[in-house]
């Protein structure tokens, strides 16, 4: 019996250990014998440059009333004249672009991941051996994560996000590190999901009544339009739980992942070489210390969610849903006892 329990306890970690790639081979893979051939096509800047907000503002203020506004707008022809002069920079890296206009999951390429630095792991001394299957080799004492593995896992995670969104699930994007805020908020708005960019309040899932009880909820129809008639039925409902959690820094959000595990909520996590991949359901082996890498991953997952939501709304317009909708009768019942609320009121 003891042996069986041991197997149950250790089997997840054993599964995580790669059998195909023994650890010893990792230390020999530093120096490739033949030079690696790389694609010569440059990364094209497919994403159109976002418009200058200043220009829009000036357009809006074309009917300038005050002298200061007139002075500000009078420079506009001058500026547009000088815009034609000089050279034009064609392919440049704009750090804002990955946040404002993230790429789609179909656009994932190894070059893109390499440029974002997703392959850089941690110092070899800090590794978690469970990540050996994701590691390509060692360079200057730092583990290098295999880019094709990252791309494959990222595509899988994007698929998961898209399907959950298409089935009307609540997707929570969590990135509590400094600088991840904007990417998280943008991804959540694309995927019509929810965001956490400050500390996860411990107990938000396990003790949701206390912590999220006062937060507002609403009843929507299949087209995501609010139905105010059901507002009175929402009073004594348990707090909501996400259906999928995406965590950009699992090392700092141990409590969040633990609560997700307890509540059977699947998780997607960015797993660096020092993190434990068994903590999350769908790991994405990648560098989690680079903002550019995590912003790229958040953006791609946000785009995936956007595609899923579009699909769901399209179905809803045809009068179909890919999930079992809650009925008006269920809403009127007491969520804890399953009895009609009217009968409950009479008892009291």
């Amino acid at each position: 019996m003891i042996i069986r329990k041991l197997c149950m306890r250790q089997s997840r970690q054993l599964l995580a250990l790669s059998r195909r790639a023994p650890i010893s081979s990792r230390f020999q893979s530093t120096l490739p014998e033949s030079p690696v051939e790389t694609l010569q096509t440059p990364i094209r800047d497919e994403i159109s440059r976002s418009e200058n907000p200043l220009f829009e503002m000036v357009q809006a203020q074309s009917e300038a009333s005050t002298p200061a506004q007139q002075e500000f707008t009078s420079d506009e022809p001058q500026r547009s004249n000088f815009k034609k002069l000089g050279t034009s920079v064609k392919s440049s890296y704009d750090p804002e672009n990955v946040i404002r206009n993230p790429p789609k999951p179909s656009q994932i390429s190894l070059e893109m991941l390499l440029a974002a630095g997703t392959h850089l792991g941690h110092s070899t001394s800090r590794w978690n051996p469970q990540n050996s299957r994701y590691i390509f080799g060692i360079r200057e004492g730092v583990h290098i994560i295999s880019l094709d593995v990252t791309a494959a896992h990222l595509r899988r995670a994007a698929k998961v996000v898209e399907e959950v969104a298409a089935r009307g699930g609540l997707i929570l994007f969590a990135g509590t590190r400094k600088g991840q805020k904007r990417a998280i908020v943008q991804a959540a708005s694309l995927a019509k999901g929810y965001h956490i960019f400050e500390r996860w309040i411990p107990g938000s899932l396990t003790n949701g009544e206390q912590i999220l009880g006062h937060c507002e909820t609403k009843v929507v129809n299949a087209l995501d339009e609010e139905l105010p008639d059901f507002k009175s039925d929402l009073a004594d409902r348990p707090s909501l739980k996400p259906d999928l959690v995406i965590c950009l820094n699992p090392l700092e959000n141990v409590v969040l992942l633990h609560e997700c595990g307890l509540n059977n909520v699947p998780t997607i996590g960015v797993i660096d070489t020092d993190a434990d991949p068994t903590r999350v359901t769908y790991p994405i082996p990648s560098n989690d210390d680079s903002l550019r890498a995590t912003c790229l991953i958040a953006g791609i997952l946000g785009r995936a969610g956007e595609a899923g939501q579009l699909r769901r709304l399209k179905m809803a317009q045809e009068g179909r849903t890919s999930y079992t909708p809650i009925t008006a009768q269920e809403l009127r019942l007491d969520p804890f006892t399953g009895l009609a609320t009217g009968a409950d009121g009479q008892k009291k």
């Binding site: 506004q69 929810y194 937060c215 009843v219």
Partner: protein, 307 residues
Amino acid sequence: MAWHKPNSLTQAMQSLRLTSTLPKPSLQAPRTTLNTLRTRTYATEAESAPAAAAPEINFGSFTQKPARIIPASPSYFSGSPRFTDHVLKLEALQAKHASLPTVATSEAPRMAWFKLPQFRDYVGEPVPMKKYKSLVKILQRLNRIQPDMVPDEVRNTLSAFLRPGNPYAVENVPRTVDENGRARGKGKRKESTAVVQLVEGEGEVLVNGKSLVEAFKRVHDRESALWALRCTQRLDKYNAWIRVRGGGVTGQAEAITLALGRALLLHEPGLKPVLRKAGAITVDARRVERKKPGHVKARKMPTWVKR
């Protein structure tokens, strides 16, 4: 999406169609169904008329059916969704208008933002002080946009965070001598408060209805009470009617000094440097320090005793 928000014309047409079709079947339907039952005896018998098409999907009821319960705000899981939404909205606004010219903090219009308890009432969430301070910082940055270039959306958003009744709207009117030639001055010292009514006259002084000698036994107190008039050599040029409350004799005398100095300044503003130098209009803000636990007085410690 056309069906889901029909315009008034199509609505009217639909209602017409409904009213024309609805009442008829209620009377005639039973008979027709009976007739059809009688005529169609066998299931295998071929139908005489082709089956009518299925009725249209009633999208109206589909849109009225509940499908999901979802959070009202994308910040639901942060625990304070309304506050987080406010912060995100303000940050977006700040980023949008970052290129507008700004003025120095001192020249920006003075705004009375919500105090923390008022803000907590406003959002209905227990917002910590530190987080509210960071929100006020964004408000102040938006408020620094050059006043004649502030976009309407910024102005409207900022006005939502102002506490009701603008305390900075009323400007302090400079005090002057009133129509009866009276100048009123107030002064405080220690626990005492003095109000002086000063008129031009022959040097009569009444303190709480008593003469100066009756009110202050010590010569030093009398000197200090009228110090503002004495140092400017105007003892015989003004009459003073003084009311003083609270505190002890010294405190009352020095409260009168300050009140008298301020009242005299209304009559003769040119005396300000003299009065300042003489110390007649300098406020002494010292008050008795509170006693602390573990101390005998404010600072005195009990004597050390060996065991």
